[in-house]
Symmetry: C2
Subunit: 358 residues, 2 copies
């Protein structure tokens, strides 16, 4: 039986993708070698990296204004690369404060310039995205940084601020889960291990002109221009992770692309929120304006019941439901690869658990 | 038929390792998920990362003086991290110049301090390691950097310089191919994709006290102390690459450890050099004092014959034999995972090719 893994990441990958990768693991396209054993300069990997880029461009509607880069180190490395490359000399950057990950991003920027908080929901314990019409972004900022989906708090931007400066979005936990307009962003970045593939590679989609800002003293491997100029092949890239990402892109296209997967994601999350709102046993701590379609967090009447919920679910083949250690509770992460059947199984279990323990 | 891949990297992995990884690809230890789908904070990956570290310690004889870190970005990211972390304020570092990769390492250091060339073989076209007894290392240097094996030139250190400053070795292409004394080194680092596993992870073995040098303005993800303190789990690591590395470590132990694999590596390379030296058709451009046991480079009487050699070998299931594009010729990379049988197959082919075309 396939386990439904509701972990926040690394997360489930589509079963079809896993089966395909297993099938050709030791013998990629008749080469007699696994893909991970082949040179990154050979024809097999060259074909992969080109088609991954073109599939990402097609899926997200990315034109020539933006480059698509594959970079190691996850979103955490981007937290450093962003200010190193994009903070203007003597300048400041604006960060929206919506939880732990946005705070980590802001912290890394402080070494390279002043950091100003453009908006925050800390006074309501990060239960929402700060109301965007109240933001007063400064047009003189080097850039404005947001975290489009917050895995711990379970919040998500349902619209984006309009700023004059380059808008930078950490989309690690909701990239390609919905349609966004690329032209609204200077830089979109995401660690792969939630919606795109396995851990070990991050995708950075950057407006080409921004990559020209980088000061001379930034090392080669930390410059966006290196990845743009060398097509992410300056040095040996994480070939297997990029290959897996490529298989996920093909799968996404087969599902009908981002508008189709967005409908599925809406249906999955709405089914869960509906149950939670209807119930007097389950409770959402998140303001209805800002609920995440990727990470549905909720509470039970007691921590004891929450522990029992996690344990009972595991026995039924549903794992990873424990909330982040910093906030507790329950978290169901339902990224692209979580099938509707997985959510239905969870809902049946939730109803049964409430009936028995409620 | 298993292809023999003589590529410089990403390179062959042991067949047993590939088969094992394939077997449990979609269902790791009965979890119903692939390892790459599981959380890096879960019990399965925690067990892996601990046992990989302890196996590396056992294989290389690493005591508590040194930490073992898993870092993304390959050796090229280390080229930047080394001076960022270890260059003393206002200081200089010494680099031995033995080819393209050592030059790239030195280039990245120039942003962070003065770089001095402690020894060079550029005047003999990098055909050897500069004679070590002629080096005059400066005890005031921040560190002394060498490249223990040079994949392009086909050279390798057969002994190491004794320096008073921390000796830093890029062992990307010969780590764990032979026994070395860890206490001789301040830092050993290596991208995994030659002797250790797939691309996407580098191993850095660093003397703990050196990690205290790092200036305050170095970003979190670029500080060795982050990896030491968080056991390489500050952020999501490349879980699948580390898992594969772990399988290779188990395999190495089954082979009898580093002294046993060193014997095999000696035998493989000696068989090839013997043929080359005996032949008037093949020719080694490398000084006998410095020949690499990992990358055996040689020339044929003409570039036309070299092209034919590569093409004919491919038809017989031997790939990756073309020399690096910057120097031409032939290169047989015979890392740990290349079995003696692969070298014997190459030798038979070389004899036959000489008979027909010589």
């Amino acid at each position: 039986m396939r386990t439904y893994n509701f972990s926040a990441g690394p997360a489930m990958l589509p079963s079809e993708v896993m089966e395909r990768a297993k099938e050709e693991f030791c013998n990629y396209k008749g080469t007699g070698c696994g893909l991970m054993e082949l040179s990154h300069r050979g024809p097999e990997f060259s074909e992969i990296v080109e088609s991954v880029e073109s599939d990402i461009r097609e899926l997200m509607g990315i034109g020539d204004s933006h480059a698509v880069c594959f970079i190691q180190g996850g979103a955490s490395m981007q937290f450093a690369m962003i200010p190193m490359n994009l903070m203007l000399p003597g300048g400041f950057a604006e960060y929206a404060d919506t939880g732990s990950w946005s705070a980590k991003a802001a912290k890394e920027a402080k070494t390279f310039g002043e950091v100003r908080t453009v908006a925050s929901s800390s006074d309501t314990n990060y239960d929402r995205i700060p109301v965007i019409r109240h933001w007063q972004p400064d047009p003189k900022a080097s850039y404005c940084h947001i975290t489009s989906n917050n895995t711990i708090a379970g919040t998500q931007y349902h619209s984006f601020p309009e700023v004059e400066t380059p808008l930078i979005a950490d989309m690690s936990s909701d990239i390609m889960s919905r349609v966004v307009n690329i032209d609204d962003f200077g830089l979109i970045y995401a660690g792969a291990q939630k919606n795109l593939g396995p851990s070990g590679v991050a995708v950075a989609i950057i407006r080409r002109d921004l990559a020209e800002r980088t000061p001379d003293n930034v090392p080669t491997m930390l410059r966006y221009s290196t990845y743009i100029e060398k097509k992410s092949l300056f040095n040996t890239p994480p070939t297997f992770a990029i290959y897996m990402l490529g298989l996920v892109m093909k799968w996404l296209k087969e599902q009908g692309g981002l508008s189709a997967i967005e409908e599925v994601n809406d249906a999955k999350s709405e089914a869960l929120y509906e149950l939670i709102d209807r119930s007097r046993f389950y409770r959402s701590p998140v303001d209805p304006s800002s609920r995440s379609r990727m990470n549905v967090v909720f509470r039970l009447p007691s921590e004891e019941l929450e522990a029992k919920f996690v344990a009972d679910a595991k026995e039924k083949g549903m794992i990873g439901l424990k909330g982040h250690r910093s906030v507790g509770g329950i978290r169901a992460s339902i990224y692209n690869a979580m099938p509707m059947k997985g959510v239905e199984t969870l809902i049946d279990f939730m109803n049964e658990f409430e009936r028995v323990n409620g």
